[in-house]
């Protein structure tokens, strides 16, 4: 079904880079030449044979930090996206199918949440709650799920009025079947491409939080935190802060390329088999 020759070049680049990032994240302890918190040399040492990317503000190997940082960044972003998607999609679909007061209540509540700028909301909540990875994931996931809720409700409302859903209701099918077997397969293509975008937003949001000091706490660091640690070096012409920043950008672009391709591939709303 999937013809490798017909994948466009942009998608190839995206796929390869995304795969590289994922490999780094999964096998960090085996790939990294040094430990995450291990001090190996001078502060802000330049790139050398021992330290390919140089060292950071405390003399830790930047390459190893980057690899561990990939693991932390992607781990948190993936979990937060997964949470926002399961929560947002299920609630959105339910609101569309049930309708009535449930829909109104949920939608207005989501409007309320969305009317507050996400970053400010996140900052306030995170400065009150204890700074653990679990809280971080929970807060990010909940805030993001409002966006997913809106999209999935909008998509599901359209599908819900189709004759095949009516036929299922006439048959007496329960809510579970209608949501997961009738609506979900048809809502999948916009949701999958949204998944990619939301993942990138999660990465960017996490980076912003860490940069502001409310995200991942030292000695661990995600890429945003590493930008923060090394930002003072920029004044002295030391590129250590730019490397994690570039990694964030690269990850965002490559996931975007993949999401674009998935959207194009599944944009054919005729159903059945997607076109190669």
């Amino acid at each position: 079904m999937l013809d490798l020759k017909r994948i466009p070049i942009g998608a190839w680049i995206g796929l390869i880079l995304t795969a590289l990032f994922l490999i780094c994240a999964l096998f960090a302890p085996w790939l990294a030449p040094h430990g995450n918190g291990e001090v190996v040399g001078d502060v802000w040492a330049p790139m050398s044979a021992q330290n390919w990317l140089g060292t950071d503000n405390l003399g830790r190997d930047l390459l190893s930090r980057m690899i561990y940082g990939a693991r932390i960044t992607i781990f948190i972003a993936v979990l937060a996206t997964a949470l926002s998607f399961s929560l947002g999609a299920i609630l959105g679909f339910t609101a569309a199918v049930v309708g009535g007061w449930f829909d109104t209540l949920m939608s207005r509540f989501v409007d309320l949440l969305m009317s507050i700028p996400t970053l400010i909301f996140g900052l306030v909540v995170l400065s009150v709650l204890p700074s653990t990875v679990a809280t971080l994931i929970l807060v990010m996931g909940l805030l993001d799920s409002t966006r997913v809720y809106r999209l999935s409700r909008a998509v599901a409302v359209d599908i819900n009025v189709m004759d095949f859903v009516e036929a299922a209701k006439l048959r007496g099918e329960g809510m579970g079947w209608i949501i997961f077997r009738e609506i979900l397969p048809n809502a999948l293509s916009p949701l999958v491409s949204e998944l990619g975008l939301r993942f990138i937003y999660a990465v960017l949001f996490l980076s912003a939080l860490s940069f502001l000091g409310l995200g991942v706490q030292p000695p661990d660091a995600d890429w945003g935190g590493m930008v923060k640690e090394n930002k003072d070096g920029i004044v002295f012409g030391i590129p250590a802060a730019l490397i994690p920043a570039a990694a964030i950008a690269l990850l965002a672009i490559s996931v975007n390329l993949v999401a674009d391709w998935v959207l194009n591939r599944t944009a054919d709303l005729k159903g059945g088999r997607g076109n190669g």
Binding site: M1, M162, D163, F164, E166, A167, K169, L170, R171, G172, E173, R181, E182, P185, N186, L269, K270, G271, G272, R273, N275
Partner: protein, 554 residues
């Protein structure tokens, strides 16, 4: 095989299409992309002021040929061979600027669905005169004057002011006539009518048809009239060309085609819809009894059903007939519980049905199944045929695995489709096949009553005929009763045992088929019956003259 109807092409030939070949590239799932030929070397010619009817089933290439007269190929379709000579020059060689000068000036187009073809954000008048102004044919004042004259000629209500309305403010039949005015406004030499009346009710169709015919006669414009309804084209066309699979089957004068068709396929088209169905006498207690049902939308604001009472007897067919907006589909929704009636009751098999769908036991749901008009949206596009037919078996009878598969195969056999269709998705089926799958899904529940909501109206006549025959056969085998909703009286004749005629939410005539279709008629039934196009030249004028009332949609 087909003869040229009149002499050799001479100076008054307006359009001359020679050996037209049209191709498109398709991307079938799981296969290499390939080029298919949609139109194989079709030639036709049209004299000034004459009307040529192009007829055939869907996929015959009639619209594709019609659009080629404007050098246009729809959706990736390419004109790869032949010539389209309009007013003495081959417009395929004109280049994009030249073609733009031809479109809307020399050739105009009237689309099937006027509702979809008009821009909802602009007033009708602006859209009607747009092409005229663009080509600099007339000034705005002149063009609007011309448009108003055309509105009057096409007997639109309030011709002086209708132009300031938006498309959603006029009815479907009126919109179709406004579109005809739009096409005529720039005084073109040729108009392509692409199924202009197919989406309309029979009672509205007759008005639009008469308006189009008068307009063609008075303006001396030539026309290509595309339709799948031979009876309709017989009213307006001077000549008819029958197409099938992109090839010409027969070409001749209108009288010759409908009276003495030379090809077998034309003959099949002419004699379609002739199913002899002997009506059954109602006996015993009715299976479904609708009594005094009143239903409304918008919390009682808009009453769409008023005191409707009908009965259906076991194993028999009740046809509910009426134009759109008469409440036929709402009746089905009230019976199924999708729209709980405000008053009245529905008795099924001796017990009273709960008015709300959610309160009904599974057994009631099983015994009352439904088949939809649009088969492609009635089935989940992401489910295979096997899942679609198999789900009721799982759901109602708890069948699993091999037992279920065997039953699905049996059902596929019943609807005259083979086991090979098990893994197909709805998008990979033809219209008729989709409708058959819809029937199989309903049958899988072993119901006592199936509600058929306009099941054949989206299909070509020959395919629809096959579906009707299948439904009748299945009724014999399974002893299932049908509530058959339709606006097509020819269908009613071939399938019904009893008929209920609905008009604006009320049953105006109800009884056994023979009784309902025997005079004396009430005014509305008479209008319905007399509006069904007959395959007879001059029928239109006779029908218009003999009408006793206007249709509701006009």
């Amino acid at each position: 095989m087909a003869r040229r109807p009149t002499g050799n092409p001479n100076s008054d030939t307006l359009l001359d299409i020679r050996n037209l070949r049209i191709e498109a590239r398709v991307y079938p799932p799981g296969e290499q992309p390939k080029t298919v030929t949609l139109v194989h070397d079709v030639s036709l010619s049209l004299k000034k002021g004459k009307v040529l009817g192009l007829i055939g089933e869907s996929g015959a290439g009639k619209s594709t040929i019609g659009l080629s007269s404007m050098a246009y190929g729809r959706g990736g379709v390419r004109i790869t061979g032949g010539e389209v000579v309009l007013n003495g020059r081959d417009i395929l060689k004109l280049g994009s600027g030249g073609i733009r000068a031809v479109r809307g000036r020399e050739v105009c187009y009237v689309a099937q669905s006027a509702a979809a073809a008009f821009n909802p954000a602009h007033k009708l008048m602006d859209q009607v005169v747009e092409a005229t102004l663009l080509h600099g044919v007339a000034s705005r004042g002149e063009a609007e004057k011309r448009a108003r004259a055309l509105f009057r000629k096409l007997s639109l209500p309030d011709p002086d002011n209708i132009g300031s309305r938006y498309p959603h403010q006029v009815s479907g039949g009126q919109l179709q006539r406004v579109m005809t005015a739009m096409a005529l406004c720039s005084e073109p030499d040729l108009i392509v009518f692409d199924e202009p009346t197919t989406a309309l009710d029979v009672t509205t169709q007759i008005d639009v048809l008469a308006a189009i015919k008068d307009a063609i006669r008075d303006t001396h414009v030539a026309a290509l009239y595309i339709t799948h309804d031979l009876a309709v084209v017989a009213q307006v066309a001077d000549e008819i060309m029958v197409l099938r699979h992109g090839r010409m089957v027969e070409w001749g004068g209108t009288r010759q085609i409908i009276k003495e068709p030379r090809q077998e396929y034309t003959n099949a088209l002419v004699s379609v819809n002739e199913i002899d169905h002997e009506e059954h006498v109602p006996k015993g207690t009715p299976l479904l009894s609708v009594s005094e049902v009143t239903a409304a939308y918008g919390g009682g604001a808009v009453k769409v059903l008023k005191n409707v009472s009908v009965d259906i007897h076991p194993g028999q067919t009740l046809a509910v007939v009426g134009e759109s907006g008469s409440g036929k589909s709402t009746l089905a929704r009230a019976i199924t519980g999708l729209l709980p009636p405000q008053q009245g009751s529905v008795t099924f098999d001796g017990r009273r049905l709960s008015s709300r769908l959610a309160d009904r036991p599974k057994e009631d749901l099983r015994q009352l199944q439904m088949i939809y008009q649009m088969a492609d949206v009635a089935m989940n596009p992401r489910h295979t045929v096997g899942t679609i037919i198999g789900r009721p078996l799982e759901f109602y009878f708890g069948m699993r695995g091999r037992e279920r598969d065997a039953r699905v195969a049996e059902l596929l056999d019943k609807i005259e489709m083979g086991k090979g269709f098990l893994d197909r998705y709805p998008a990979e089926l033809s219209g008729g096949q989709k409708q058959r799958v819809g029937i199989a899904r309903a049958l899988a529940a072993k119901p006592k009553l199936i509600i058929c909501d306009e099941v054949t109206s989206a299909l070509d006549p020959l395919v629809a005929n096959g579906i009707l025959k299948l439904l009748l056969e299945l009724q014999q085998e399974e002893k299932v009763a049908y509530l058959f909703i339709t606006h097509d009286l020819a269908t009613v004749r071939s399938i019904a045992d009893a008929i209920a005629v609905m008009y604006r939410g009320e049953v105006v005539r109800y009884g056994p088929k023979k009784q309902v279709l025997t005079p004396p008629f009430d005014a509305y039934t008479d209008l319905l019956l007399s509006s069904v196009p007959e395959m007879e030249i001059g029928w239109l004028e006779k029908a218009i003259a003999g009408r006793r009332m206007q249709s509701a949609g006009n």
